[in-house]
Amino acid sequence: MHIMEGYLPFKHAAVWTLLSGVVIQGALRSARKEVSTDRQTLLKLGAAIGFCFLLSSLKLPSVAGSSSHPTGIGLGTFLLGASLMPLVGFITLLFQAVLLAHGGLSTLGANAFALSIFGPLVVRSVHSLLHKLHLPTSLSVVVATTIGGMAVYACTSLQLALAFHETSEGVLAAWYRFLLIFAPTQAPLAVVESILTLICLKALGRTNKEPDYATRY
């Protein structure tokens, strides 16, 4: 889901950086407050970062004839809620931008917005909805994580479409064209990621009680 270094016009990159910067700063403040009152938050943050590191390092071949990697946002969202996830995504993306030249510093804001702000919000919202509908927890975890993983790529496609569209075709048509690049590869990987998320939550015994994020968004 990385938009490569320099592949967003300066103004677009600046807006996404500003937006993400404000949210990440807020997440940092919340994390400090929560860690001081509940030491387990630090362990949950560590688990979320570890999961995101691991999954985003796996470049997997997909059915569409190209390769990509899962997003790794599911576990963290279930353990911490969407409000602390911007920190997790930022650390992972910064590591990849600086050491691996995947993504970039100029596009860090846009990538962080898609991966660590929009994606977790979708996972959290879909899971809350399914939880209210009394769906089995395992099923709601799998569905919410799959949709969240796809949402990350839908957001990346929209960011690219806003920057690169012919005036004659419009943003929506360009969005569709970028979605066609990402979606066929990403859909099976999103399912794989949702199953791995479920395995980790089961290992923690988190699937037979209220979600950890129940007290915050």
């Binding site: 362990l43 570890g50 980790c200 015994g205």
Partner: protein
């Protein structure tokens, strides 16, 4: 090796918007061999951190810490 979706998107922009020039380049671009090692390092760091934290969280649960 299969082409990544990130590269596909980049290629799409280069083909359809040839006038666009990326205004920033990566400061450090590892060679293919080193890139694989760095991805391996990232995966290793992820596994170590994940297993350590999951074990500690499970340990806390057994001890009755909420």
């Amino acid at each position: 090796m299969r082409q990544g979706t990130d590269e596909k998107a980049q290629e799409f922009i280069q083909t359809h918007f040839p006038a666009y020039e990326p205004w920033m380049q990566s400061f450090f671009k590892p060679e293919m061999q080193h890139e694989k090692m760095l991805f391996g390092l990232q995966a290793l760091l992820g596994i170590l951190l994940l297993t350590y934290c999951l074990r500690r969280l499970n340990h806390s649960k057994r001890k009755g810490i909420p």
